[in-house]
């Protein structure tokens, strides 16, 4: 079978299942008795097994199968969830991820059999079940089926099914019947038809059990009407059931005959069927109701009878209406990139039209201006829509962190908890792809350096279990991600010492540094305060890489710390990357764009208000002292002939700090498309890119935040 066309879907879905498994295993470790979780795990493992089997990934299938066996025993309460068991299961998940990674890069699952994990799983099974000998044989045989896939099921009886058969095959007897269904049954009885309950057992190696159930139902519907399915038809179709399901039929046939007929469908292991009997009270109640109903609508009955003859058509109508299918499509990110580029071009073209309409006022009539304004609205909306399609919840990045923290907790021998909020916060796909590593770095830092050992925490009167927080939220045009811990905080004295030792700063400098300056040292390349290099962190390639990466994404990072109280790393990322609102200004005779996001206000300040404090220019802005940045001097622009009497000062805010940027003229607000100026030209950090103006000119975008 050629499965290559499904490969992409397989990879996507397998990833989802693996993530699902990871998450639920974590829950299971905490709440070993949580039935929902066990069921969810079982379902995910099972789907994964089926999928990998269909795609022909035998090793993956085998490993999942053995894991599923363990889950199955847990579900049947035959085994207890222990920490070591979860460890092995996590190892199994890692191995599956490795298979998947291999499939993704090389389109095959690789040669690794992961025998050790499989053996560990089987050991656990044998140990947990006690009655090792008999079981493990069956287990082994079962594995063999999954592995070579060719053995007929009839030859071996899988282990799990045995018990379920033993305590009553007629599972449909336990199912709750809804009122309207009872009514239909009573009505059928009154018409002299049989009501039969069936429980269908599908072979456990069946891969497309959704399709199998459909075929069984179709076979049955030739002889009557299925009035109820449990699980529901939709769930059956979606393979949301284990290997058995129940159905209720109204039919002229006997249960025996139905059993024989349906058993002809391949991959059906067994069918148990019997007449379904309603209690006397129910029959009495519903017969009465029916007589009343009949009086009202005799027509209905005729329809019902007719539909019974025509069988399947009516049955389809009777089944619960299909819920609205998942109304989404998977789109290659490259296609969205192309779309985004086109929107960028369109905005540039629109800006061109705007500048024409601005420059030639009298020659053009009003309707031209109106149309331009209309076009402007459309392009803005279009841009927003395209942007939205590229937004992905941050969840897809952070959902692997609980697992990571668990592993770190074991490795470091510290107990800790990760609390996450705002996983639904959305970011551009390109940012999402890049933000994972920096966040991981910060979390590892928090776990390794931030949190003290449990004993130290207890001594300091804290909760011995450390807490790490990951909070994401939107703040204006930015998305903020905070990585917080309640650990020891950063010891600024220690950093100073280290920095002096390494010759980064002199003692004099150290004495003058504020805590904030000291923390900035942490972000310098190859600076680590860790006494020992551990597996987890301490090689000194941490924070500077984090910083570089975040700045490459157009974001910024700052750190706050309280000795003894913990540290907080705050990452700010722009909501969108490619197109921003900017304030266009003139400095010297050049045009520059200042991103609107960081601008607070624009002030007219008389030059007499500029005060000189220790060689630095500041102004007093409504009670707060704001340092002044002469952009013209920094950028080496042409100086105006003489100092003007009044300055235009753009007040910029970064975190808590304010600064005033002196510009010569304001042009106005404009939507601009950010373009890179390339890697050849030496890029000062103040220039974050360039944009093309309406008249084709290039204006540089200033990252004013870097000057605050």
């Amino acid at each position: 079978m050629d499965v290559s066309q499904y490969l992409e879907i397989f990879i996507e879905e397998a990833k989802e299942h693996l993530q699902n498994l990871n998450e639920h295993l974590l829950v299971l470790e905490r709440e070993p008795e949580n039935e929902n979780t066990i069921n969810e795990i079982f379902r995910a493992a099972h789907s994964l097994k089926g999928m990998s089997g269909t795609m022909g990934y035998k090793r993956m299938q085998r490993l999942t199968h053995d894991m599923e066996n363990v889950f199955s025993e847990i579900r049947n309460s035959k085994m207890k969830v222990t920490s070591s068991l979860v460890d092995v299961l996590f190892k199994g998940l890692d191995a599956l991820e490795a298979y998947l990674a291999n499939i993704q890069t090389e389109a095959n699952e690789g040669e690794e059999d992961n025998e050790d994990i499989i053996n560990a799983l089987n050991d656990i099974l044998n140990e947990g079940l006690g009655k090792a000998a008999a079981k493990s044989d069956a287990q082994g045989a079962d594995t063999a089926i999954a592995y070579n896939g060719a053995v007929k099921a009839a030859e071996v009886k899988p282990a799990g099914a045995d018990q379920s058969l033993a305590h009553g095959k007629l599972k449909f007897l336990d199912i709750k019947i809804e009122e309207h269904e009872k009514k239909a049954m009573v009505k059928a009885l009154s018409l002299g038809l049989n009501v039969v309950g069936l429980t269908v057992y599908i072979q456990e190696y069946c891969v497309l059990k959704g399709a199998r159930a459909f075929m069984v139902n179709r076979a049955l519907e030739e002889f009557g009407e299925i009035i109820k399915l449990y699980p529901s038809a939709q769930d059956l179709e979606d393979e949301k059931y284990d290997f058995e399901y129940s159905a209720f039929m109204i039919t002229r046939e006997t249960p025996d005959k139905l059993m024989r007929l349906a058993a002809n469908v391949s991959e059906v292991k067994e069918i148990a069927a019997d007449y379904f009997k309603l209690s006397e009270a129910d029959v009495a109640l519903y017969s009465k109701q029916i007589t009343q109903d009949e009086a009202k609508a005799a027509q209905t009955q005729i329809n019902e009878a007719a539909s019974l003859k025509s069988g399947s058509a009516a049955a389809a109508a009777k089944q619960p209406a299909k819920p609205v299918a998942n109304r989404s499509v998977r789109v290659d990110i490259e296609k969205l990139d192309v779309l985004m580029n086109l929107v960028s071009e369109l905005i540039i073209a629109k800006n061109g039209l705007v500048s024409i309409s601005d420059s030639s006022d009298s020659a053009l009539d009003n309707s031209f201006h109106e149309q331009i304004e209309y076009l402007e609205r459309v392009t803005t909306n279009l841009h927003e829509s395209v942007m939205k399609t590229r937004m992905v919840p941050i969840e897809s990045v952070v959902n692997r962190f609980p697992r990571m923290i668990r592993d770190l907790s074991k490795k470091l021998g510290k107990e800790m908890e990760l609390y996450m909020t705002g996983e639904e916060t959305e970011l551009d796909r390109t940012v999402i792809d890049e933000i994972g590593d920096p966040l991981m770095h910060l979390l590892r830092n928090a776990a390794d350096h931030g949190l003290e050992s449990n004993a130290d925490r207890a001594k300091a009167g804290k909760n011995p279990v450390g807490s790490i927080y990951l909070d994401a939220y939107q703040d204006g045009n930015n998305v903020v991600i905070e990585v917080r811990d309640d650990g020891a905080g950063i010891n600024t004295e220690k950093i100073k010492q280290k920095a002096i030792e390494k010759g980064r700063i002199t003692e004099e400098q150290a004495a003058r540094m504020t805590d904030k300056d000291v923390i900035d040292v942490l972000f310098q390349p190859s600076f680590s305060t860790a006494e020992t290099v551990t597996d987890v962190s301490g090689r000194g390639v941490g924070l500077d890489v984090v910083k570089t990466k975040i700045e490459a994404l157009g974001g910024e990072i700052e750190a706050k710390t309280k000795l003894g109280g913990g540290s907080n790393f705050i990452i700010r990322l722009p909501l969108t990357l490619a197109i921003i609102q900017a304030l266009m200004v003139i400095i010297g005779n050049e045009k520059y764009a200042l991103p609107l996001g960081s601008i607070q206000t624009v002030e007219d300040i008389p030059s007499t208000e500029f005060k000189d404090i220790q060689g630095k220019e500041v102004i007093n802005l409504r009670g707060s002292v704001v340092p002044i940045v002469r952009l013209g001097t920094i950028l080496g622009c042409q100086k105006p002939e003489k100092e003007p009497e009044e300055h235009l000062v753009v007040i910029v805010k970064k975190g808590e700090r304010l600064a005033g940027m002196v510009v010569d003229e304001l042009i106005g607000q404009q939507e601009i498309v950010i373009k890179s100026i390339g890697k050849y030209i030496k890029n000062h950090k103040i220039i974050s890119g360039a944009t093309i103006l309406g008249n084709g000119e290039v204006a540089l975008i200033l990252d004013v935040n870097s000057l605050v």
């Binding site: 920094i634 100026i677 030209i681 000062h684 093309i692």
Partner: protein, 152 residues
């Protein structure tokens, strides 16, 4: 390379001196247009231009080769080159572009240069074309930032 191998070069002039640029690097030749200065960049980078919606950095070849700068005339051109087929384009300003010539491999005198001599690495050899000697430029070395610190 085989003896029959020949290469085509575009002849550009700086200070009336001919320089050869292998056409395999050349994307486009455009007239001089408005250049937006990029503050704090290397001195020989004049800034960036808008080349059909793409931002392209532009360097002065005079500046790069440490020749005295002079006013550009209407003959000045920006040669858009790509050091690698896939890499981003860069513009090189020259005084004038004259012609395309074909040089046989045996008309090219390879030059040995000292790796530490940045300026020396800008030349791949000397081409003999008629009576003229043409300095053949090593475009990747010129574009690369290597040694720029000394030049700024």
């Amino acid at each position: 390379m085989a003896a029959l191998d020949s290469k085509q070069y575009i002849i550009a002039y700086l200070n009336q001196q001919p320089f050869g640029i292998d056409i395999k690097y050349i994307d486009n030749i455009i007239v001089l247009q408005g250049i937006t200065r990029v503050p704090k960049a290397q001195a020989y980078f004049k800034g960036v231009i808008n080349l059909r919606g793409e931002i392209v950095p532009v360097m002065s070849l005079r500046g790069r080769l440490e020749l005295p700068e002079s006013e550009y005339t209407s003959k000045a051109r920006i040669i858009i080159v790509r050091p690698e087929p896939q890499s981003a384009p860069v513009g090189i300003i020259v005084d004038e572009v004259k012609e395309v010539i074909t040089l046989e491999a045996d008309a090219i005198e390879k030059m040995n240069y000292d790796e530490s001599d940045i300026k020396g690495s800008f030349s791949t050899g000397v081409g003999k074309y008629g009576s003229e000697l043409i300095n053949l430029l090593n475009i990747p070395a010129i574009i690369a930032d290597k040694g720029s610190n000394e030049l700024v």
